[in-house]
């Protein structure tokens, strides 16, 4: 199934907006998590974790799912296909992997926000809040999304065996 040029442009715009938006949101998340890890002020640390949880639920998760969905539409509706080119396949695998890790990590963020929301937070709890885990996750996510962006821009050559077979079939049909 191939989309019309107008729909293709619309789908591409949606995919770029959601994917780059996800990248930007992760960058903000990384900045927040660094502040949460390094700040010496208890109120700042608590505020950071209280902000991070809704940011993740209302920005990161929707953008992540939108990027995955629009990527599927974009690949299946154009000549690129989903399994024909290695760069598309790698982007799909990276997106699915990042989505799974993010959804699993939401449990941790909920937990951190729960501690931060308590009115009586002990110094020991603040020590627990100052975990390097959000920095590590956000840093790795940022790296992964940057690689995905580079793949999308450069579109390195390389057809999968399935892509080679499909291409051969199409050329055989067009050149009887």
């Amino acid at each position: 199934m191939t989309m019309t040029p107008g729909v293709t442009k619309l789908a591409l715009t949606a995919h770029v907006v959601s994917s780059v938006g996800w990248l930007g949101a992760v960058a903000c998340f990384l900045a927040l998590s660094v502040v949460g890890l390094t700040s010496q002020h208890a109120q700042t640390v608590r505020a950071v974790y209280l902000v991070m949880e809704p940011t993740a639920w209302f920005v990161l998760v929707p953008l992540c799912l939108a990027s995955l969905l629009t990527g599927l539409v974009q690949s299946l509706g154009t000549k690129w296909g989903l399994f024909r080119h290695y760069w598309v396949l790698f982007k799909l695998l990276m997106n699915v992997f990042a989505t799974i890790v993010l959804l699993m990590y939401m449990q941790t963020l909920d937990y951190f926000a729960g501690i931060a929301a308590e009115t009586t937070v002990s110094s020991g709890d603040l020590g627990g809040l100052r975990s390097p885990s959000p920095v590590i996750h956000a840093g790795l996510a940022l790296l992964l999304l940057l690689v995905a962006t580079v793949l999308a821009v450069y579109k390195p050559r390389g057809l999968t065996p399935y892509g080679r077979r499909k291409q051969y079939e199409q050329r055989a049909v067009s050149q009887p």
Binding site: Y86, F90, F97, R130, S131, R157, G158, A172
Partner: protein, 62 residues
């Protein structure tokens, strides 16, 4: 059926960048699976909090 001209994509085999990406992907996925197995299938708060945090993870009621 006429002879088809060779295509650069189809005759060069698997590109080097794909092999490098594949190796990195396998290593990352293996690390992820090992971490999951070590944590008993959990990737939640228990893994990410310090032992000196002194806070018990909340129990989620269904």
């Amino acid at each position: 059926m006429a002879d088809l001209p060779p295509d650069p994509d189809s005759t060069t085999g698997t590109p080097r960048w794909v092999k490098v990406f594949g190796i990195i992907a396998v290593v990352v996925v293996l690390l992820f699976v090992i971490l999951l197995l070590v944590g008993g299938g959990q990737h939640g708060p228990g893994r990410h909090t310090r032992s000196d945090g002194g806070h018990t993870p909340p129990v989620h009621q269904p």
